[in-house]
């Protein structure tokens, strides 16, 4: 039996084990002649939190962008609840607003205040009543510690506050799965925690998430599954305990070592 046959059986086995919410199969992404993602396959079940780690430029962010149909793909399939996320280079209508995404930074709309940032899409896309959305937005803002900031403009907020607003904005669309793309990478260290607390809170509520991060202790705390990507390939996949305490591959060990420091003394 060839290697590919074994892989096929493994995949079918997984499929039998329950309906995956998101499944990525043999995904290939190229920019011109450069291959960014090469044959990536994985699944995310409802309630799971998959953390994707890996060195800079390994294609983690590109992967999230592909899942959110912001990039076209050159091969393979990305399915949400069994349906392709993209059709003809755009997000397919069946996916609609089921995928939420928060970016590294600067993605709040600078011309709108906090409450308008949050209510714009629910009102215009989902055609909800503004007062309902606003009530919900206020509730969520309170929950993330931003009560009283409704009328502030993005430029008046700190980086950490902006990212919390961005998370609330995404949540108000009630996505089935949330993609977080290095949401703390542009923040000062003391602001990282306030944002990650919010994400931990979401995980406790059972939100399905796909997280790209460089915060290893956070990854360990929140993940139900960790996946490491390097040079466009999945290097290792496993539970956080396995991955962080006993990585199987040399590449993963080397990567994890970059986060520890030898004592000088």
């Amino acid at each position: 039996m060839g290697k590919e046959d074994i892989e096929d059986i493994k995949e079918e086995g997984q499929q039998d084990g329950g309906q995956a919410m998101l499944s990525v199969e043999h995904l290939v992404k190229r920019f011109g002649t450069e291959t960014i993602l090469d044959d990536i396959s994985f699944r995310v079940n409802p309630g799971e939190v998959l953390v994707i780690v890996g060195p800079s430029g390994c294609g983690k962010s590109t992967l999230l962008r592909c899942i959110n149909a912001l990039e076209d793909v050159q091969g393979g399939k990305i399915l949400l609840n069994g349906l392709p996320v993209a059709e003809g280079g755009r997000k397919s209508p069946s996916v609609g607003t089921k995928i939420g995404m928060v970016f590294q930074s600067y993605d709040l709309f600078p011309h709108l205040n906090v409450i308008d940032n949050i209510t714009l899409a629910p009102c215009k896309v989902l055609k909800k009543k503004r007062f309902l959305v606003e009530a919900e937005a206020r509730e969520l803002l309170k929950r993330v510690g931003l009560e009283g900031k409704e009328k502030s403009y993005p430029r008046e907020l700190s980086g950490g506050q902006k990212q919390r607003v961005a998370i609330v904005r995404a949540m108000c669309m009630h996505p089935e799965i949330l993609l977080l793309d290095e949401i703390t990478a542009a923040l000062d260290p003391e602001m990282v925690r306030e944002v990650l607390e919010v994400v931990l809170d979401l995980a406790r509520q059972g939100m399905t998430m796909l997280i790209v991060t460089h915060e290893m202790s956070f990854a360990r705390a929140i993940a139900t599954k960790v996946m490491m990507i390097s040079d466009g390939h999945v290097v290792e996949e496993g539970t956080p305990e396995e991955f962080f305490t006993a990585p199987k591959t040399a590449r993963a060990r080397q990567f994890l070592n970059t986060f520890t420091y030898e004592s000088v003394r």
Partner: protein, 219 residues
């Protein structure tokens, strides 16, 4: 300076100024429309049409209004397109201004970061919604200073209308100087009237720019 002469000439200048402003405003409105259309074509990279737009912008920006007006007013009638001086002035100003406005709008559109569109898409908006709710309001704000600068530029360019025998301020001044030789008074009135037309727009422009710079968007 002879104030009797000034009082005598004032109504003539007033009439000319009204004509100048009228045609200028009309030309600017068309220029804004042409500019917006061109900027959108370029922003959304509409195939084929964007090449035509690019060629138009190059031609319009690299030739003086003077020859544009001469060609429209004296050249085009020879192939059957006849225009009055007024129509010619407005058409010339629109042809010239369209490309300048296009560049102003384009810089505004380009200043909106790609991630803004992507965020809008991520929130489920379609292209049209993303454009009207997210891109346009931001682009309009950053386009404002160059648009106002272009308005001033185009109002100044109306002084060339006199070349196609439009009875504008320049024409009136030159005409009166030629007949009565009251050079000082004629030039004085010319400067005053252009100041009356241009100063308010210029002040508005610098106020706008200051407001945008200090209260501006951005992180």
């Amino acid at each position: 300076m002879n104030f009797e002469v000034i009082r005598e000439y004032l109504p003539l200048y007033q009439e000319a100024a009204v004509l100048t402003v009228k045609l200028g405003v009309l030309g600017i409105i068309f220029a804004l429309l042409i500019g917006l259309a061109c900027a959108l074509v370029q922003y959304y990279k509409v195939p084929v049409i964007r090449r035509i737009v690019a060629a138009y912008i190059e031609i319009s920006r690299n030739t003086p209004l003077m020859i544009q007006l001469f060609f429209i007013y004296y050249g085009l009638p020879k192939i059957g397109i006849r225009t009055s001086p007024e129509v010619c002035g407005v058409a010339g100003l629109a042809f010239l201004g369209g490309s300048y406005m296009a560049e102003a709008f384009r810089s505004g559109l380009n200043s909106v970061e790609a991630i803004q569109t992507e965020s809008a898409f991520s929130l489920g908006m379609n292209r049209v919604q993303a454009f009207f709710y997210v891109i346009l309001p931001q682009a309009a704000a950053t386009s404002m200073p160059p648009v106002v600068a272009n308005v001033i530029f185009l109002l100044k360019e109306t002084s060339i209308f006199s070349a196609v025998s439009l009875m504008d301020l320049m024409f009136t001044a030159k005409d009166l100087m030629g007949i009565y030789h009251d050079t000082t008074e004629c030039l004085f009135l010319l400067v005053v009237f252009y100041l009356i037309i241009l100063l308010p727009v210029s002040i508005l422009g610098s106020l706008l720019e200051r407001r945008l710079r200090y209260a501006g968007f951005g992180a």
